[in-house]
Structures are given as structure tokens and as C-alpha cells.
Symmetry: none
Subunit: 214 residues, 4 copies
């Protein structure tokens, strides 16, 4: 563990203040509509202060994404390494992401925006960042292994699988966040639920139906 002197520690604390404010404002307004003044005010600093910690608006935004991705990724790596079984890894992976996004709903919004469409101005810089590539690789490996083990269809490219996986996952979280489920489930239960849909689809299976929603 690195020991920081007071100055460096304070610097990190302030950076974190600003990132936190930025997370909220970007989630609320989107990249373009969010202003540095909004963010500074939310963080209770003056406008110029933000520029002591971040080169420009884009840097602030990217730093935010990278910082959060780093947290997410380290959690995923740590937890998935605890089990050997591929299916268990998938479950744990899902559980970890679900838990993370439940705790970081603002970031979740930004993450989703970034993955769908906003990719105009900033996307390039992000997609080249180390954490982002590590994250992609991590998920990709998981999927490939599941394909090798016969868990997942092999007539699709891993990237397609990931897209579908992510999209199911996202829509489920969105529903979850909208509290549209009758009873809020915990991350573990949700994880199995998502994986079930993912692997078995939405089609009716004999005996599975617990006639409740309609």
C-alpha cells in the first residue's frame, strides 16, 4: 500500500469530490448539457478549481469513466478468480456488475449513454484507455471460455454474444432501477435471473412457468 503525504492525499480527496459531482451532473444532464459551472457548484468549488485537477471537460469526463471502470474491473477480477467453474464465473461476474451498478446508478446512466450513441466526441479517447481495453478483454475471455465449455452457442462471434449479453443485462438493470419488479431482488438472485434469460431465452419451457405477471 502506498502511503501518501497530506498534500497528495488532499489532492486525491478533492479530485474525488469533483469526480463525484461530475458523475451526478453528467448522469443528470448528459455530456453536452452539463456545464463545468454546474459541476463546480455541485462540488462546492469555484469554476477555475476544476481546471486545477482536470485538463478540460473531456478529461474530466474520461477520468470519471476510467476511474469507475477501474473500480468495477478490480471487483470483477477479484471475485471471479475465487471460483473455477465457468458457469459460476459468469454468475459471479453478473452479480458483481449488478451490485456495482446498483451502488453507482449515476455512473450506470453515463456508462449506458457512452455505449450507445454518444460515442461522438469522447469515445475515441475512452476506447483507447487501458482500463477499457482490460475490461473488454476480461469479458471477452469469459465468453470465449463459456463457448469452449459448451455453455454458449458457438455460431456467434464473442463480440455479438457480449453485445447481446450486455443489452439484456442493461435492460434488466433499467427495469430494476425503475423498480418495476414486484419485489426488489438482491444481486445474487438477479444474477441467476439474467443468466437464465441469457442462456435459455424468453421462450416458454415446460414446468418453468410460475404464472405471475399477467
Amino acid at each position: 500500500m502506498v502511503v501518501l503525504n497530506r498534500k497528495d492525499r488532499d489532492r486525491l480527496l478533492r479530485k474525488a469530490d469533483i469526480l463525484k459531482a461530475a458523475e451526478h451532473v453528467f448522469a443528470l444532464k448528459g455530456y453536452d448539457k452539463a456545464t463545468i459551472q454546474d459541476i463546480a457548484k455541485k462540488a462546492q468549488y469555484a469554476t477555475g478549481t476544476v481546471y486545477l485537477y482536470f485538463r478540460d471537460k473531456g478529461d474530466l469526463y474520461c477520468s470519471l469513466l476510467e476511474e469507475k471502470m477501474k473500480d468495477l474491473l478490480s471487483g470483477i477480477k477479484e471475485k471471479t478468480s475465487l471460483v473455477k467453474d465457468t458457469k459460476a464465473k459468469l454468475e459471479i461476474f453478473l452479480e458483481e456488475e449488478l451490485g456495482f451498478f446498483k451502488l453507482n446508478q449515476d455512473f450506470f446512466k453515463i456508462f449506458v449513454s457512452e455505449n450507445n450513441g454518444l460515442r461522438f466526441a469522447i469515445g475515441f479517447r475512452i476506447s483507447r484507455s487501458l482500463v477499457f481495453r482490460e475490461y473488454s478483454e476480461c469479458v471477452s475471455n469469459l465468453v470465449k471460455k463459456a463457448q469452449q465449455k459448451g455453455l454458449i452457442r458457438r455460431d456467434l462471434y464473442p463480440d455479438q454474444i457480449i453485445d447481446i449479453f450486455r443489452s439484456i443485462f442493461t435492460s434488466v438493470i433499467l427495469g430494476w432501477l425503475r423498480k418495476e419488479l414486484r419485489e426488489p431482488k438482491d444481486a445474487k438472485e438477479m444474477s441467476r435471473f439474467v443468466l437464465d434469460i441469457f442462456l435459455n431465452g424468453i421462450g416458454c419451457k415446460k414446468g418453468l412457468i410460475t404464472d405471475c405477471c399477467i
Copy 2:
């Protein structure tokens, strides 16, 4: 059919010109980065002319979405009414949307952005629009019927199903557009493919594997 006089007809033609230009520019730059001047220039009109047909930028954007949704919806209604069988309806529905988005890739981009993240400034207005609600209802009915017929799991709310449906669908189209499929398939084939994933999931089924991608 309503018969329009020259004036009204011209008005509609101009509106369509502008909407077409807007579609392209919004798809290319995103809502915030697109300027009215860009759009006017693309449509070969003067800036001010846009304001004769649309109240403001937001109105133009919403009108665009609504207009396109109307086209999409009418196609879907027309085609799905031709068959009786629910599964066939689902296939036709998918085929129609796939075909529509293939022809309207710019709109598809906008549609995706709007559904995932941009929902900030404009979303509210859109979600209350008539077409949008009709479209939602149409899809919802389709899903409910499929649930009643035992095609689709009943332990999920229709809205959740729709979200998942849409997200699979979207990621497949994105892949399609990125030309990541080995052989470009036509809308009919794609439709079956999406429905297969949707109903049966990504999990391995005996005998289905045509070991090709990995």
C-alpha cells in the same frame, strides 16, 4: 385519403425535406452537436425557414422521431395483420423492423441514442407522444398474446420482455450494420435468427451447434 391543396401539399413537402436533412445531421453529430444551420444547409433552405415548420430544435427532433415512428408503425400494423398465427406475427414484426432500420440507418442511430441515454432533455415529450404510445401498445399486445399462447415466459412483465427483446434486437442490428456477420443475411433470415436467440437464448442446445465462429 385526404386531398390537399397546393399550399398544404408544398408545406408537407418542405417539412419532409427538412426532416430528412435533420435525420442525417442528428445521426451524424448527435442532438447537441448538430446545429440548425447544419440542418438548414443540408436541406438547402435558409436557417429561418426551419422555424416556419418547427417551433424549435427540440420540436424538430421530436417531430422527426414521431414521423419515423409513424412510418415504422404503419408498416408493422399492416404486415402483422396479414397473418393470424402469433409466432408468425412475431416473425413478421421483426422482419418489418429489421427491414425498416436497414433502410433507415440514420434514424436507427438516433432511435438507439434516444433509447439509451439521451433521454435527458427531450425524452419526456417523446414518451407522451401519441405514436410512441401506439407503438408501445402494439408491441405490448404482441408480447401479451405470445405469453397467453405459451410462447413466452409469463414470469416477466411485458415491459421487461419488450426491453429485452429490443436490446437483443438492437445489438443484432448493430452487428449487422457493422457487417460482422460472415454472410450478410436478408431481413427474413435475420428475423428468424433474432427470434431464435430471443426464445431459446444463447445457451447451447444439443444438435444446434454449427461450430463456425470460434
Copy 3:
């Protein structure tokens, strides 16, 4: 002569308005301290209007210099071509510049700034402009011819001569503008006076002294 339609003519008039205001403000405050708002207000336009006619602050500044240089240069070329004798050409050249600067004192200030020291941000762009190079060449040719004709010492590079020439010239105008001369002289008289100093120096010559200043 080119005939302009109303639109083009108006555009030129407005450009001229803004250039005139810019000339005044830049002369008063210098490049950095002058603001676009100052200039716009002085020209009785809104801030944004300036940007309809000039790309940015630097462009406005350079355009101003170039426009004025063009006026100056065309006057010089026209007048000096009327005489054959090299000494007469020198006199006419001086007379023309003196007259021009007398009428354009704001520009004179800017011109002097630009030639001495401010050359930081903008100088490069200016020095590559066509008018600027034409002007330099024109003066250079004049000096070279004077050297060939035996009017000017040949143990100095033309560029050095020009520097000295310009510096004498400038200091004389500055004095003139400060109205330090006992009797304001006209451009013709001043021209002979500057040329006399330039060619014969400040040293006493027999018979020349008209004991008046001290």
C-alpha cells in the same frame, strides 16, 4: 470596375464598419487588451456579428493590417510611377506615406506596434501575407535602385537601410503627431525634411544651420 449587388455591397460596408471600429480599439488598447466586445460595441453591432465577417480575433487584426497596407501600397505604387528620377521617387514615396499616416493615425499606431516587438502571436501570419510582401519588395527595390544610382551608401544591406529609414521616418511622424514642430508642415515639406536627415544625417553642415530650435 466590379459592380456589386446590394448584398455584397452591404457586406463590404459592414466589414468596413467593423474594421474601422477595430482600428480604433486596437490602436487604443493594443491587441491583447482589446476585446471583441469593445470592437463590436464601438461598431454598434452585437458580439456575434463580428464573427460573421471575421473568423476570429486574429483574423480581424490581420485583415485590418492587410486592408490598410493595401490602401497604402496602391497609393505608393500609383504616385511613384509618375516620376522617373530615383530621388524624386524617394520623395514621393515619403510624401505618400506621411500623408497616409496623417490620415490614419490609429493604423499608424498599430503599424508601429506590429513592427516592433508585438510580433509574437500574429506576426507570422502577417509577414506571409501577399500585401505585406509586396510592400516590402516595393520599398526594397526603391532602396536598391537608390544605391545603384549612388544616392545611398552601399556598405549597408538594403534591409538595414530600410530599418534605419523606417525608424527615422517613424520618429519624425511621432513628433509630428505630437505636434512638437513649431509650425505643422505639410506632407511635401515633411518628406524633403525626412529625406534630408536620412541622406545627410543630423550632423552640422556648413551654411545649413538656421539657428532656430535652441
Copy 4:
């Protein structure tokens, strides 16, 4: 000579540090583009420290000019008092200034800017400063004496003579610094050269031509 205690001495040393840094930065970037942070960093002090020694940016700038002028002036006074002959005084004066500016090229740049154009924000304060007035008076006396002795034309005001003198002088140094002279000359030789031009002008004199430059 005043004897300073440690505290006062340290204070002066620090002031000198900062002035030296300021000299470099102002010469490089010009008054407006130079920032206090640049200067503080160059001097290896903190930003705030500058404000312990100088009221504001303008004060720092003026102090710099005054300090340097004081050095220049004291050198001139000392050296010119060593000779009696007026022409010799003029030569010595020139030699001293040339030598000083050769050693202080950064200051020379600033000095030139200040004399030609930057005079906007700061000029007033400088022109009222004691050193500046002493310097002016010193040069003025030199010129007046030269006029009385018949070395310099009397049909010009001393101020005009000084302006012309300075402008020739400046353009020659600029050329010198640009190394445009074929062989770099020393201050003594340069001094005679400038004085020659000053007194006899640029015009051709019989027998003087050493046909080399063109």
C-alpha cells in the same frame, strides 16, 4: 554605501531573482501573454511570493524597467564623465548603451516594445518615474551640448534628435542581434558606425564607398 542587515539583504536578493525571471519571460512572451505563474516558476518561487515583493503585475513590470534603466544610466554617467570632448562623450554614450544591450538582450526587447507601441497600459507610470526622467535628461543634455558645439543641426528640437538617434540606434542593434552584419563588430566599432550614420546620414559621400553589400 548603505549597509544592510541580513533581512533587507535577503529581500533585495529575492527581488532580484524575480526581476531576472520576469525579464526573461516578458521578453519571450510580451507583457500580456506572460503570466505571473510563468515568472514565479522561472524564479523558482511560489506564485504568491511574487506579490510579497511587487504590488501587482504592472508594478513588477515597471520595477523591472526602472531597475534596468538605473543600471544603464549609472554606467552611462560614470563612463561619459571620464571624457571632456563632446564628440567623445557621444561615442562613449553609444558604446555604453550598445554594450549594455548586448549583455541584456532580453531587456532590450522589452525596452523596444515599450518604446514603440506597448505604451498603452503601463507607459504613463513609467514615464513619470525618476530614473526615466533622469535618463531622458541625461541624453537631452548630451544632445544640447552637441548642438551648442556645432556637432548637430540646430534646426531640430533636442527631443526630435533623440527620437531619431534612438531609432537609428535601435534598428542597428536589431540588425546586430539578428547577426546580419557580415562580421560581428565590437561595441566600440559599432558605436563609431552608428554615430557616422547619425551625423552623416545614409547618403553617398565621395570616397566613402567600399562597395560590398550589393
